[in-house]
Symmetry: C2
Subunit: 246 residues, 2 copies
């Protein structure tokens, strides 16, 4: 049978990318939730009326983008922040000695407030829209090592309260996806060296002026939608930010 053409965008888009977009739409609509198995390649091929190889290529790309995870013999699954595999993808601070571990979190402040102009701009909101503000200290092996400030769109995190996060050792992004259906896909970070001010120095139990890593993050969900603005101040006396250039 000759190649199916279907509705082709004015600028040529191959079939497998259209299939890919359909799968992403299903992910976004939570037809399959994080951790779920999606239909087999043959089933999807039947649903979309294309060959298995075309579905395969679409899934290949989604797996490369960490939206899906393939497990031979088992099936293809929706990636989840609850898994060890994904655990350290967004947590780049590692101890100088020993294995990476997940930190303990202490909430310093939690409130809903009106978005300042800068926050609104980055999160694609209107100035004055509701925003969740969260300030935490992260402790690695009982040692306070990070001071974090987060801004989240209020509309996406309706039931979020301080109690719900309290004393959590659970990954924050895992909570976001299971409790609020907000899936973090990608993040951009800008890193600088700064001196600790008095307030931060006290929280981290170091002298004022101690050099800290300042990590400004914007995290995105499906469709490049910004859903988190975060500033982290990292104490790097026993830890470092690890990165790989490919």
């Amino acid at each position: 049978m000759p190649t199916a053409a279907r509705d082709r965008a004015p600028t040529f888009s191959p079939l497998y990318r259209q299939i890919k977009a359909l799968i992403v739409a299903s992910l976004e609509a939570l037809e399959w939730r994080p951790g779920d198995m999606i239909p087999s390649e043959m089933e999807l091929a039947a649903r979309f009326k294309v060959s298995q190889g075309t579905v395969r290529k679409a899934i290949d790309e989604l797996a490369a983008e960490n939206l899906l995870v393939r497990r031979q013999g088992k099936g293809t699954f929706v990636a989840s922040h609850g898994e060890a595999r994904t655990q350290f993808r967004f947590l780049r601070l590692a101890p100088d000695e020993g294995e990476p571990s997940y930190p303990e979190s202490r909430i310093i402040e939690f409130r809903r407030q009106r978005a300042a102009a800068e926050v609104a701009r980055v999160l694609d909101l209107k100035s004055g829209d509701s925003v969740v503000y969260l300030k935490r200290v992260l402790l690695f092996a009982k040692r306070p090592s990070v001071v974090d400030e987060l801004h989240l769109p209020g509309g996406l995190f309706r039931g979020l309260t301080a109690e719900r996060l309290a004393e959590g050792r659970a990954p924050l992004y895992g909570t976001f996806e299971t409790d609020f259906g907000v899936k973090m896909i990608r993040a951009d970070e800008k890193i600088r060296a700064v001196a600790a001010d008095a307030a931060v120095a006290q929280l981290l139990e170091v002298p004022t002026g101690t050099p800290l890593l300042q990590v400004d993050r914007v995290a995105f969900s499906y469709g490049e939608k910004p859903v988190e603005l975060r500033r982290g101040l990292y104490l790097t006396q026993h830890h470092h930010y690890r990165n790989t250039l490919n």
Copy 2:
């Protein structure tokens, strides 16, 4: 024709990975140099006696790893550090405002010396082996912004002299690949915040104690071979280290 089996490693390795290894071997042997076009998929398929699709899958992975670059209608080319595309893959310091640019370099020190224990360990040399030591200042828009110290295996960089690098605006890794056949593939970085000591502060024209980003890099060539140890101290008052988490 049934599937060719060939010499199969004890743990199963698919054909396309064996093909991939053969292509990497040719790259390593400089059969095709950076910037060169490699043979077409059909030619390689004939050479290796496999189908075009199998060669294609091997090349797909090599392109994903940035060892090869595909150009539709033209051919497949060996990736080169001389291209704009690759330019900023290993240069993560970007100005807060405006477009990234390539810095001017000033050499502060250049000499050959015996490898200290730590340097030898990281570069996989013997203690006392010859090592090239290079210290530079990088200037963005006339502003000194980085102090860099590099250690390179002496054996790989035989003809390297200070004159050859002098006042170079050319990318260092481009020089390495064209002049010495050493191709940088991947690098690991560990980032910390530190305070500028007197010597560095003078070079960067800032007060002693100014917070700086300390970036420790180990760069690798083919086969995970370490070929560079580098420590950079970045002034982040008008620049930042950019990163994307996927």
